[in-house]
Amino acid sequence: MKKKILMFGWEFPPHNSGGLGTACHGLTKALIKKQTEIIFVLPKKLKGVDESFLKIISPDAPYTVMHAFDSPLSPYLNVKSYASDVFKDEPIYGRDLFEEVSRYAFFGEAIAKRRDFQIIHAHDWLSFGAGIKAKEKTGNPLIVHVHATEFDRGGGNSIDSRVYKIEREGMEKADKVIANSNFMKSIIVRHYGIPEEKIEVVHNGIDFSEEDTATESMHKIKEAGKKIVLFVGRLTLQKGPDYFITCAKKVCDFSDDIFFVISGSGDMEQQLLEKVAAMGISDKVLFTGFLRGERLKEMYKMADLFVLPSVSEPFGITPLESLINGTPVLLSKQSGVSEVLEHALKVDFWDTEEMANKIISALNYEPVCNCLKEYGRKEARNITWDKAAEKCIDIYNTL
C-alpha cells in the first residue's frame, strides 16, 4: 500500500539557493510519479500575504499539496547570517535563528494535527524540530534525511553546539535516518553516535532534459587553444575554493593556456580575490558571481574540465550537472558523488599537487577528456531521482 508522506522540505528551483532545494524537487517529483502522495511543507517568506497557502504541485497527483510557512528560513542560514540578513521589521519572525526554528516546529505540529498521513520525512536540521513535533503529535514514524551536517558546513571548524544538538536530537528521535552517501553515513556514525543499522544510504539523482546535451556552440566562442577549468559552488570553506586556487597557481606556473573560472558567491569571496591577486594570477582566475539556469548551463558547456575540490561534500550534485552538459569532472575523494561516479578523475582535496597533475594531464591528453566525457555522461544519466525515490519507498514500507 502506498503511504502518504508529510515532508518538511525546501524551496524548489529556480527560487532555491543551493543543492538542497534541487534535491527536494528531484526526489518529490520522482515520488509523485510513483504515485506516492506528499504533503510538502516548506518555509517561505510570504510577506504577510497569507498564513499558509495550498497549491497543487502536479496534476498527476491531485492529493499532493504544498503548505508554505511564512518564515525567512533557508537551507544555508547560520546564526550570523540570520541575524544580519533577515528582516527585522517582520514582528512575527523569531528574534534569532533558534527561535525561528522552534516557531517552525510548532507550525509542524499544527499541520500534523490537520492532515492525514502515515510517515514524516524531514530534510536537514532546520526542519528536524518540525518533524519531531509532528511525530509527537501523531505517533507516526519519522525519517530525517541528512544532506549536510554542521561538520560539513563548517569545513571541520567552528561547530555550533546548538545546531549540533538539534541535529543529534533529530537523528536520535527519528525511526530512520537517510544519508545521501556512505561518506555522510560515516560522519553520522562517527560524530552523532547513531548506530549504523539505523541509517540508510540513498544517493541523490540528477534531472536532465534532452536539450541539455545538444548545443556545443559556446565552445566555439572560446579562444583557440585556451582551456577552462571550472569551479561551481558557494565560496565557503566546505567547498574548498582555496584549494582550487592553490592548485590553479601550480597549473599557471606551468601553462599559459589554462584559465580558471569560479562561479558562486559566499563569505570567502573577498579573501579569495585577495589571494588570487597576491599570487599574481588574477588574469587567469575569473570570478563570475553566482550563476543559475541558462547562464550556468552555458558555463558548464564552455568549460573543459569541472573541478569539485570540496573539503567535505555529503553528496555534490554539480559534477552530475557538468557531465550532463558534456564536461568531464575531477572530484574530491571527500565527496559522496565520488561513490557513484566511476568515470571521473579523483584526488584528495588537500593534494593540490596531484590535482594540478590531473588537470594538466587531462587537458593535455585528449583521449582522457574524451573518455571521461563520453562514459561519464552516460553514467550520470543513470544516476536518477527515480532510483532514489524507489529506495525511499522501500524505506517507507519498512516503517
Binding site: E354, K358, P367, C371, Y375, E379
Partner: protein, 417 residues
Amino acid sequence: MPSVIYKIMPSVCFYFQVHQPFRIKKYSFFDIGKDSSYFDEEKDSELNNRFVMQKVAHKCYIPTNKMLLHLLRKYPDFHFSFSFSGVALEQMEKYSPEALASFQELVDTGRVEILGETYYHSLAFLYSKEEFRKQVLMNRRKIEELFSVKPRIFRCTELAYSNDIAKEAEKMGFKGILGEGVDSILGWRSPNFLYKSKGADIKLFLKNYRLSDDIAFRFSERSWKEYPLTADKFANWLSQANGSGETVNLFMDYETFGEHQWEETGIFKFLEDLPEKVLRDKDNNFLTLSQCENRYPVRDEIDVHHITSWADLERDLSAWMGNEMQKDALQKLYALEKDVLATGDEEIIDCWRKLQTSDQVYYMSTKGMGDGTVHNYFSPYGSPYDAFIYFINVLSDFKLRIKDNQKKYVERNKAEV
C-alpha cells in the same frame, strides 16, 4: 573427427602462466624531464614491483612449486607445462631468487615443459612483426639460460590467437600453439581434440574454458551451484571426457594458486588431491603439451581471422584496446619503434619494451565500469584514467630522452668527424 571412437584416453594438459609486469609508479606531469625512473615506486604498495613479486612468491610461487614437486615425486606419470614472461623471470632473479630456484627444480625433473612467448608479455604482434619476433627470441634465450631447455610450443600474450599468429609461430619453428576454445570458432566441435591452424602446419591446442575457469575463477565462489569444488568432483568431470575427447586443456594463471584463490579457500588441498583422483581412472593421464602433440593426431582444421583471447565473455582484445586511451597509448608507443632502436641504447630499448607489457594498457580498461555492476578488473591504480595519465606522462618523458639521445649521437658523430 573419427566416426567410431574405440578407446580414447583423455589426457589432462595443465599449462600455468607465470607473469608479473613492471608496474609504472605514480608519475606526475611535473616529473616529466626530471625523473627517468618509471618503474621504481619506493613505498611498499601494489605499485612497488619488488613488494608485489615477493608477496606473490611467498603466497603462490614457492608453496605451489613445493606442492607440485611433491606431486611429481609421488606420481611418476604427473606432467604439466609452464609459460614464463621474461619480465617475470627478470624480477624473480632480482627480488626472489628462492622462487626462481624452486621453478628450476621443477623443470629439472624433466617432466615439466616450458612454452615460448614474448619476453615482455606484449601485444607487439599487432603492431610490429619484427619486434614481436625479437621478443620471442629474447624469451627463448632467457629460458635456455635459466632452465637449459628450448620451448617447442608457443603461446601468445593473453592467449591471443589467429591464423596469422599461428603462421608466424610456425615460421619461428614452433610445433604447436595455444588458443582459447571459443565457441564461435569451434562450432559443434569440442576443444578436447588437437586441431590444425588454417594456412599453417602447426598443431593447435584449445583451452577447455569451462573446466579451466571452474578452477581459476569459480573455485571459491559460494553462489556457484557446484561450490565447494572437490578434486573428486573435478576428476569425475574429466573422466566424462573419456570417449569424447583426447586432451583436456586446462590453461590458467599460475597465480590462481594462493594469490587469486587464497590458501584459505582450500585451493592447495584441491591441487594436492587432484592427481590421485584423476589417475584413479586408469584411462586418464597427465601430459605436457609436447607429449600431447606427439601422441595425438590432428582431427580438424580451425580458421580464425580475428584475434581471439582468453579474456571476458567476448574472448577478444577489447580489454586491452577497447577504448580511446588504450588505442592512443599503444599507437603512440609503437610509433616510437624506429627512433628507439636508432638510439642503440640498451636501457632505452629495454624501457620501451617494458612499456609494451600488456598489463599497462589493461589497467586503462573501462569495460563494465559505471553500469552499476561489479567489475573484477584488477588494477593497482585508482582508476583507468590514473593508469593512462601515469603511462602517458612517462611516455612524454621517454620521448624527451630519445631526443636527448639523438642530440648526443649527432654531437658524438660531429666530434669524430
